[in-house]
Amino acid sequence: MAKVLIINLKKYGDLFQSAHLVNSLKANSPSSEIHLLCYEECLSAAKIIRGINKVHTINRKKIVSFFKNPIYSDGLAFNEMEKELSLLKNATFDQVINYSNDLVTTYVTSFLDEGSDKWAGIKFSSAQTIRYSNQFSLVLNDILTTTPFTPFSFNDVYHHILGIALGTASSEGTIKSNKGHDQTALNNLNRLRTMKNKDQSSVSIIGIQICSSSESKDIPKNAIIEAIKLINESDNMVPILLTAPTESERKRANQINEFFENKLVSVESDFIALPSVLKNIDVLLTPDTSIKHLADLLRVPVVEVSLGEAPFLKQGSVNTRSIIISESAHKRLSTSDKDINPEISGSFLVETLKATLGIIDLDQISVDKNYCLYKPTPISDGVFTTAILGDFSPQFEAKRLLSRAVIQKTFLGTIDQSIFELLYSTISKSDISDLINKEKANLSILTKELLSTLRGLIQTQENKSKAPLFIESLERLLSKSFDNNLSSLPALTFRAKIESLSSSNLEDNFKEVEGLLYSLKDNVQHALFTLQRAEEFGYSVKKARVQQTSYTGPEL
């Protein structure tokens, strides 16, 4: 029986997201004993995840308060931190998973796993350089944080790090709920359905979550009000407001309810009751990632309105019935002011909800200017968030798909053909062809820099005075990792490995650097191979099935 510790020191959304991994671990090894270490403030969320045998907590708020508040001795913070971690240090785990991949978690992972090397993800060596458990931990730590393409969601990468497939939830589901609450929610929501139409089966309940973790991510109030008006006017939809039991959310719900003479149903629930509510609605409209993940785990379709700084491609949904409304990815990355969102209309929100419910087709949605729709699409190694409608950049989206194929070829050795199918079904052949030609040219430039660096290294080994020239060419090569093109993928992998060399003195590491340069050369070849395969796949496609302007969406 494997004993696994997942360290997840982030917030509710990440905690719920890690439930997919818990589910997969259990599906792969039902007898495994799973422990979770999280912050105490997230305990209520952790408790509803099925499959976790024990939750350990660090009281972050108390520790920070002990440290920052001058009335307390800093020793109290040390003491509090040590108390929980020493228990875990003395326990034996078969695997310690660094899930949150931040500095605190990485130091904690290094502390708990010191000397045993059973970690998954990243940890620090004694020289404070990064150690990767496998190549996908490098994808998580270096590629996803640097490239704009987001070839993988976090969820898919974590599954690759552990080398396990996305598990199917047990019949009980991944999230616990109280049977009494389930029945109460069902009864109350059915009553609402009947009030709308005697045939309650024809009525859909639309759950509307009105608050997110920051104001810049919230759906504007006027859009919510317009959407609710339209939902109320329909024959077959009923809106309910969903709020957490906090003063600020209550206030926001009341402000919206005032427009409807306080006739809207507003459901206030904590994490114990929320699953029961979500299970009994038909679709959720939300700007919030934590409730989105929860709905995802409960297999409730979601219309996620991703605004502000929300990393929607990394935190992607897995439910293929869900739709994400966002500015196109390439625009969000280039916009410096994340607090200003383009205007969004209630009618656009309602049409998207209707399409999710199957009341209208996707191509009947009038997408607001500057927005587009993304949809989770299953592929062999997870789920890809595909742009399907609206104002997206075909070449940027093609880059995202090709970058996933490049990483698969580089780190798995094979390419999932469904990526190419998705590529040619969503992007025009001419756009793909243009992109492939540009990317080949970029890879050619990278190859030149690589050869120049290799030459510099060989000359330096023969004559130390050539070192400055070598360093200069190495710096040029490393700078390629910041280019916004596919050649940055092998360059980033190279940079990450250079940075994790144990000595900071390059002269001490000539042999290792030489090995890494040859490895980079191989990775450039993998990228070129991927582009060639994509090209060949295109030749076999007689005609691009869908043009961007008339696209009706892939079969999902």
Binding site: V64, S73, G75, F78, V108
Partner: protein, 248 residues
Amino acid sequence: MIVLTPKANCDFKDEEHVELFKKINPKLLTKDMAMNNSCEVEVKYSKTEQPIPVINGVHLHSIYNPEREAEGFISGNQKAIENSKSFLIFGLGFGYHISKLEKLIRSQKGDNFKIYVIEPNNLLVEKWRELKETSFSDNVVLFNYQDVKDFFKDLKLIQFMSDKPAVLIHNASFQLNESFYKQFMSFHYPTGVEDSSTFIENEDLRAYLLSEGTNETTEEFFLRIKNKSFIKGNDYLALALSEMVQGR
């Protein structure tokens, strides 16, 4: 009646207030504490025949009816009392206000509450114990030290304060020992590793903290560990803590 909110309580760093106080009477900060602790506690009896402590001529409860005065203490702190189950009271007096609060809270919220009382005057505490006019359940804990720092060495009190209790001030006690309570509210615990180590229960961690000398502050300690070329064991723990408190 003064009520500090729980938020105010967790930010006991009203330095400007103390500085102002020092300007008004520079000597008073040390003077009144010493004076009050050595002053005899005179006992008078109210019209309701209940004992009243009098220190330096200051009556700590109403000479007419201390029970009714305690009701005023409750009504003046009504909002804080409604919203909390943990209370830190500045001033024991002879406990009429505490007794009244305890009864009220128990009737409203059951047995799940805590009342911690800060009282710097040990002669007053002795007299209260001697007379036994009021008594409390185990939910009420009295802390009686003369040195402010000693309060902040008491782990039980620290744990309680970190949960952000509502602070209720017994006005007469506060006025009598104003400088003490201001020192209490603006207290800064020394940040040196030696002082810090006294709070660490784990012997290995305590030894680790002191292994490189005792003169550095915790900030300097963190910086030194961060810059080490080789780290191991508790270094990882220290760096995790360092990153956590910086909000990373």
